[in-house]
Amino acid sequence: MTIDATDRRIVEATQAGLPLSPTPYAEIAASLGLEEDEVIDRLAALQARGVIRRIGIAPNHYRLGMVANGMTVWDVDDRSASRLGVQVGNLDFVSHCYLRPRALPVWPYNLFAMVHGTNRAQVEDKRAKIAALLGSACRESDTLYSTRILKKTGLRLGREGSA
């Protein structure tokens, strides 16, 4: 799937965030020489196509007191990994959940579920709930706590042609 040149300008103008003004889309439109309606319609179309996953906020877990961040990883039987992944992803305390390839022999885990808490005991509690859900389909697991954020910028599109 691709996006046209106008969509791309809208992506570039909004990827750092929306202006905090009563009419944010009109401001973006003005900065691009477009009509407000066109910006709104194009953003809606991008969202309908899945290019925009959602519009909203990304909370900073750390600053909100969720200082324990555990990447829980699980070696789940391939035959049930997709089915169980859906169930783990549906747990309200799991913020991201992915199935990924293993890297044997150093890395036997294929299911990744991100769990946050105000302390490690909370994360361990949540981890136990995931373990209970996976049951005997899980052979081995681990939790990798983050000890430092080294970089956090998110996706940045370059100017067209310069990327």
């Binding site: 959602r54 909100l64 599109l157």
Partner: protein, 154 residues
């Protein structure tokens, strides 16, 4: 991680929870959200401004799917010797393709996400990092995502 914690009040919490679910596409979106929350539009805007300035929210706006625009993401991990850790982190972070990077307590102690506009650029970036650091970059591209949205607080 040593920065002070922001203590959101009850209204902040409702805003944080509501805006993780979505933000309307209409001429006066803040007015619409504010009316749902029973607060004034200018109060909502002022609170978001404060949450952003205090670092309680990292982003406010559209979240793009790089894959849907023809791009790609890949989680990568490295086992970095302790003595070299900061120097290697600096080298890795210098790549614009590195969207975020975390130190984690494990033998694989550096975990970063590559985000590129074209899938083939993932391999190029991972290969360049391997060459520059002399360390293996394990690639963990997502095979399936169990995506249900974001929720942080009750």
């Amino acid at each position: 991680m040593t920065r002070p914690i922001y203590k959101p009040d009850a209204t902040d919490r409702r805003i944080i929870n509501a805006l993780q679910e979505g933000f309307p596409l209409c001429s006066r979106p803040f007015a619409e959200v504010a009316s749902r929350l029973g607060i004034a539009e200018d109060n909502l805007i002022a609170r978001l401004d404060r949450l952003r300035k205090r670092g309680a929210i990292t982003r406010f706006g559209p979240f793009f799917d790089a894959a849907a625009m023809g791009g790609a993401f890949c989680l990568c991990a490295m086992a970095v010797p302790k003595a070299q850790f900061d120097a290697i982190a600096e080298k890795v972070n210098a790549y614009p393709e590195v969207a975020h990077n975390y130190q984690r307590a494990h033998k694989l102690n550096m975990w970063f996400v590559l985000a590129t506009e074209r899938p083939q650029d993932i391999e190029a970036a991972a290969g360049a990092i391997e060459e520059e650091t002399g360390l293996a970059v394990l690639r963990f591209p997502k095979l399936e995502e169990f995506y249900i949205g974001f929720r942080v607080m009750a």
